[in-house]
């Protein structure tokens, strides 16, 4: 046949065929391999060769990294006229955009995807919390600071009734989440470029524990009591966990949480309240050491 003839003729001139390897794999194959790698690795691979570069932009690769209900998340987080809602973005760009901390609810909350795992992390600032007595400058002050993602924290001078409530309604992707309060005993200041902490006014926290409570719209509840300790450091106090299951009827999960110390036999003060964190439960260990 003509085929075999030409094969023989060209054999001498042709260089030996390249060794089979990923270099010869079609893009779709490389992309299939990338589905099983995490985003940072995919990005590194993208620089290795042209084929890898193209394969790394494949939509189905990044679709697998996005949370299943990312459409709902985008709807919830971004304004109607935001580019992300209007424009036609490839999944890679959507992932990239969601990995940045995105403010919503008037800047009182932030949400982002963890870049490696694609899990959703949420943050509620002290501005978004209902703090009893926040308007009374005898008790509470808002202090601008670099140490908060929201650039300001609420500082408690002293009070009898300590109550911080909050709630959030968000289309959390399926998974289990842990809620933390980021607090610090003592007020920080910076002098001559050094960080110092004034713990003079810290009092009352060792008398009785504070109470954390958490409840969700689908009936999950958690309570916890613990003492606030360790002056001078920001600590994430674990308040409770909740689980989001896959259900088609409700897109959003509402979570109510609170931190109270309302024993009126003693005053307490000297506390900085920064924010409430809702992280995937897998990160719990990580946070507790901060």
């Amino acid at each position: 046949m003509g085929l075999s003839f030409s094969f023989l003729a060209s054999n001498a001139a042709d260089p030996p065929p390249p060794e089979p390897g990923l270099g010869n794999l079609p893009e779709s194959c490389v992309a299939s391999v990338m589905v099983h790698l995490d985003p940072t690795q995919i990005c590194r691979l993208a620089m290795l060769s042209r084929d890898f570069n193209r394969a790394s932009s494949a939509d189905f690769v990044w679709e697998s990294k996005l949370p299943l209900n990312y459409g709902d998340v985008i709807q919830r987080v971004f304004e109607k006229d935001d580019v992300l809602r209007k424009g036609n973005f490839c999944k890679k760009e959507i992932y990239s955009r969601l990995c940045r901390p995105n403010s919503f609810d008037g800047g009182a909350k932030k949400v982002w995807l963890d870049k490696t795992t694609g899990k959703t992390c949420t943050l509620i600032s002290s501005n978004g919390l209902a703090i009893t007595g926040i308007d009374d400058r005898r008790y509470w002050n808002r202090i601008p600071t670099e140490e908060s993602r929201f650039q300001s924290i609420a500082y408690l001078q002293q009070t009898w009734w300590f109550e911080v409530d909050g709630e959030i309604e968000f289309p959390f992707p399926v998974g289990s989440y842990s809620l933390f309060f980021r607090l610090q005993l003592g007020r920080t200041h910076k002098r001559f470029g050094r960080r110092g902490c004034n713990t003079e006014h810290v009092h009352g926290w060792d008398k009785k524990p504070v109470q954390f409570q958490l409840s969700t719209t689908d009936g999950q509840q958690a309570t916890k009591q613990c003492y606030l300790k360790e002056h001078g450091k920001w600590i994430c106090y674990h308040a409770g966990d909740f689980v989001v299951k896959n259900s088609s009827n409700c897109k959003s999960m509402g979570v109510k949480f609170s931190m109270t110390q309302i024993d009126c036999t003693h005053t307490k003060g000297g506390l900085c309240v920064d924010s409430v964190l809702i992280y995937p439960s897998e990160y719990r260990e990580r946070l507790l050491h901060f």
Partner: protein, 339 residues
């Protein structure tokens, strides 16, 4: 007599499908095995081919004869419904324990035959091989050509969402591209005075990280506020009185339009440049269009700029590069689980 004749008929009538690989060789395989493969199954049902040697089903080019044998073994094993999950798992583990090159061929063939489970299996195995290896190692194992030119690696990113990080990154790339061009020019000129060389090729302590490492940077400081706070200590010199704008302003009251460009003066997450005193009177520029325009011709406009502005820009970009290459976030990650 009739009954006797009928008794001679074999109890089991196996039917075979004929397959032809790209090199022309033909083989036959049991029907149920072949049907396990969607592409073959469809061919049989739709076109009725494969029933005899002359009407063999032509397989896609990527299916080499050697690999076809392995694939058919796979199909033969898995199409039997009676096997337990554990059995299948053990078989799969053994199946992928082959040379890398064979694994690649299997993946490629399975993909062209649309044999989903085998594609997953081989992809996973290949991914496991890639995990945790350096780029050079990966190139070595998989014989990848390094066919992305330096210029291509420094392509500016599309920044529709006006991400300040991307803006800075594109500026960094523009600068690197310029340096690259300078170096190439010098090469063409031949080895000129060594003085010239050292001047242009001033050593930036920057490694050529991937364009898409942006993603690894974006949340690199997202895990710990403390880490960021201390990291930002020196760099966060943002003046309180300067109003926050979505795009920053020209700093020295220089002319509008072409000379003015956005600094990354927005987020607290990237540290900000100290702004010279007389900045508050500058007009607000139309944000996205200008930014996009400048990003594209970044290299050219850069040269026309005020030298003071240039210095500011340089400093900002260098700082950004330093942060990009800083191992601080990774180190923090390492520290945390070890506590």
């Amino acid at each position: 007599m009739l009954e006797g004749a009928m008794a001679v008929v074999k109890p089991e009538m196996k039917s075979y499908i004929w397959l032809q690989t790209a090199d022309g060789s033909i083989q036959q395989v049991e029907e149920e095995v072949a049907m396990f493969c969607p592409v073959i199954g469809r061919e049989v049902l739709q076109s009725g081919k494969g029933s005899s040697k002359n009407y063999a089903i032509s397989l896609p080019e990527r299916v080499k004869p050697a690999v076809l044998g392995s694939i058919l073994d796979y199909c033969r094993f898995h199409q039997v419904s009676g096997r337990s999950n554990k059995e299948r798992k053990i078989y799969n583990e053994k199946f992928i324990r082959v040379e890398t090159s064979k694994l690649c061929e299997l993946a490629s063939a399975a993909d062209s035959l649309k044999l989903r489970p085998l594609v997953d299996l081989t992809s996973r195995a290949l991914a496991r091989m890639i995990e945790g290896k350096t780029p050079e190692e990966i190139r070595e194992i998989f014989h990848l050509p390094d066919d992305l030119s330096e210029e291509e690696k420094l392509e500016p990113l599309r920044n529709i969402t006006d991400d300040p990080h991307i803006r800075l990154l594109n500026r960094l790339y523009a600068r690197k591209r310029n340096e690259l061009r300078e170096r190439q020019k010098l090469k063409v000129l031949g080895d000129a005075a060594p003085v010239l060389n050292t001047e242009v090729e001033k050593e930036l302590p920057v490694d050529e990280r991937s364009v898409d490492d942006l993603l690894s940077f974006i949340n690199g400081d997202g895990d710990s506020k403390e880490a960021r706070a201390s990291k930002n200590k020196k760099r966060n010199r943002r003046r309180k009185d300067q109003p926050r704008k979505s795009l920053s302003m020209d700093e020295n009251g220089c002319h509008k339009e072409s000379n003015c460009f956005p600094f990354g003066n927005t987020n607290i997450e990237i540290r900000n440049e100290p702004s010279p005193k007389k900045s508050s009177t500058s007009p607000d520029l139309e944000p996205v269009g200008l930014s996009a325009k400048l990003d594209l011709d970044d290299g050219d406009i850069y040269d026309e700029l005020d030298p003071v502005l240039k210095a500011e820009l340089d400093r900002e970009v260098e700082d950004f590069a330093r942060r990009l290459n800083s191992v601080w976030p990774e180190r923090m990650q390492e520290l945390i689980p070890s506590i």
